[in-house]
Amino acid sequence: MKKIIVSILGEDRPGIVYAVTRVLCEEGCNVLEASQTILQSEFAGIFLASMPDDLTRERLQQSLEEGLASLGCSVWLKDFKAGAYSAPGAEPYVITLRGRDRLGIIPGVAGVIAGFDVNIENLRAITIKDDPSQVVIVFEVAVPKGVHRPAFREALKWKAEEFGMDLGVQHRDIFEAVHRL
């Protein structure tokens, strides 16, 4: 059974998921997994679906574009390949930087993270309600077994100091232990 990745980008509004999944269903594709994010006014969704053998990508692309035309969304299709990246035994860490927002923090820190072969699983920026000049940038990462933690920590600390930010590097379990039952 073929599988396909369907990526949708566009302005957020009611009806997008309906439009996408209706077309997929009409073409005989079953949605296996889905993930969506809304950032400010933008919608981004990724759908993993099965494809009947006699359905071509071109035909599916066309059907989806027609179905989403009135919503103004873009569609990308890709053949699904299982198991591209994995890091067995990786530990979940949360890297936080707090301070005044400035240009270059995210690529700076992301560069350090990438340099250690660590994967970022979630990234966001949180503005502090009581102090809008302060931002907290949160990287949820998976640190593989082979990474030398003290060196990783040290490299992140240097980068944070470069930008005048407060650094936190903590195992994710502590956040869950404190806030979740």
Binding site: V94, V136, V138, R153, G168, H171, I174, F175, E176, A177
Partner: protein
């Protein structure tokens, strides 16, 4: 995926609210070290402590780094030395304290507790030898802490021991007169002493505990205060019941930190995990105060009318929240009100808003007792014993732990300043209204019998 609230709230607790693990205490049983040969005894003691505690400090630091939560103190608690070294006399007891001090130094810990005795119903020769050795032992060592249990709800109050401890406290202060009687900061007299307290100076490893165990003491009065402040500023009408709920939930979070870190240290050291003591333990740093919580609750200061009720609310809410957060809660578990260790409480006492009498009333509803209270140096041993007796009675009748850690300041009187250094803090000497003395009462000695409601069978 963590929510924004979970991330921000945890970071706030760490950075601005002084959330930390106050102590990880390794209990080491010394019963197997017993010998009638003193050198063999001390060699076994030194070996066992240093062997078991070898990785304590590195493990705590590493795990603290992993979670971003500092383990502020690493400590050791041993079996009551009066029992383990029962065969020896006072001079050997002092030497034993020095061995504990050296072992603690090697392990890199800041305190070693357990140089104590349990004499609630009577004292054996070993107990008496240890008690006699306490002043010199505490004056000559840095790390050793001593706790003596002189009363229990089951046994009553051993007034002979109380009288003796009055003399011991005074002598310990005199031996360290140059440092404001600091030896007494390492000595606590207890009623109903629990055997798994991780905090000093009361920590010891009781009979019935495993050979080695990890007990954790969390802290977080700053976290509680900020939570109360946020609730009060939220715009919603808050009743005391609502605030109790806020404190309870906050105590839960603080205790969870202790639980997760304690378990991991225990696993790393290959030692059983004992308990989390979820006490709100202040330190003399800004923002790490229990006293400030009273102000957040609307009182002018700790010591003002309403304080006992407020403390009852606080102590109970802390216990409830913490109890849910940990599989095994123990030790003292509640709110501490150590005078010199809390900037706000020290200030309140110094300005005359918190008297010895009010402190005693507060101890009926909180965790510990008269803690880190500097008193004039000329107060007699009998009066000190009488103060101890009062506090023991509060504990015995109310089936709770109470303790006395008072520090006579030789050469100083009420209103003078004292300073003990570091976490022990500084304060103003408190007035003791001792117009008539207590010599005749204390001289009667004997035992005050256990209260009738202790006959539970």
């Amino acid at each position: 995926m963590l929510t924004d609230r979970e991330v921000i709230s945890t970071l706030e607790m760490l950075k601005n609210e002084h959330l930390d693990v106050r102590t990880v205490t390794l209990g080491v049983s010394l019963f197997g070290c017993a010998s009638d040969d003193f050198n063999r005894f001390t060699a076994r003691v030194f070996d066992k402590i240093t062997r078991l505690a070898e990785n304590l400090v590195p493990a705590c630091n590493e795990i603290g780094d992993k979670y971003g939560i500092p383990v502020v103190n690493k400590r050791i608690a041993v079996s009551p030395v009066a029992v383990v070294a029962a065969a020896f006399g006072p001079d050997d007891m002092v030497k034993a304290a020095q061995v504990l001090d050296r072992a603690g130094a090697q392990a890199g810990v800041d305190f070693v507790g357990g140089f104590g005795a349990l004499v609630e119903k009577g004292a054996a020769p070993g107990d008496l030898a240890l008690i006699q050795a306490i002043p010199q032992a505490l004056a000559e060592t840095n790390r050793v802490c001593s706790s003596v249990n002189v009363a229990s709800s089951r046994a009553g109050i051993n007034m002979d021991a109380v009288a003796e401890m009055g003399r011991v406290v005074k002598r310990a202060a005199e031996l360290t007169a140059a440092r404001d009687g600091v030896a007494c900061a390492k000595l606590v007299v207890f009623a109903n002493l629990p055997q798994d307290v991780p905090f000093m100076a009361g920590a010891y490893l009781g009979v019935g505990e495993p050979d080695a165990v990890i007990n954790v003491g969390v802290s977080g009065p700053g976290v509680v205060k900020k939570a109360v402040d946020r609730a009060m500023a939220s715009g919603q009408k808050m009743t005391l019941g609502d605030l109790s709920e806020v404190i309870k939930r906050t105590a839960y979070k603080v205790t969870r930190v202790g639980e997760i870190i304690g378990r991991e240290v225990a696993a790393r050291l290959g030692v059983p995990f004992g308990v989390v003591d979820l006490s709100l333990a202040p330190s003399p740093q800004v923002g790490d105060s229990v006293g400030e919580i009273f102000q957040s609750l609307g009182l002018g200061t700790i010591g003002a009318p309403g304080s006992t009720a407020a403390l009852a609310l606080l102590n109970d809410a802390v216990k409830k929240g913490g109890a849910f957060a940990s599989s095994h809660v123990g030790g003292l578990s509640g709110a501490f009100i150590p005078v010199s260790e809390d900037l706000n409480i020290a200030a309140s006492a110094g300005q005359g808003f918190l008297s010895l009498e009010k402190l005693e009333a507060l101890t009926s509803v909180c965790s510990v007792g008269l803690d880190m209270v500097p008193i004039p140096g000329d107060i007699s041993a009998a009066t000190i014993a009488a103060i101890i007796a009062d506090e023991m009675a509060v504990g015995v009748v109310n089936h709770k732990t109470t303790a006395v850690r008072i520090i006579p300041a030789p050469g100083k009187k009420a209103g003078d300043k004292v300073s003990y250094g570091g976490l022990l803090g500084e304060a103003t000497v408190i007035e003791v209204k001792d117009h008539f003395g207590a010599e005749k009462f204390i001289a009667l000695g004997g035992r005050i019998p256990a209260p009738i409601h202790s006959l539970r069978n």
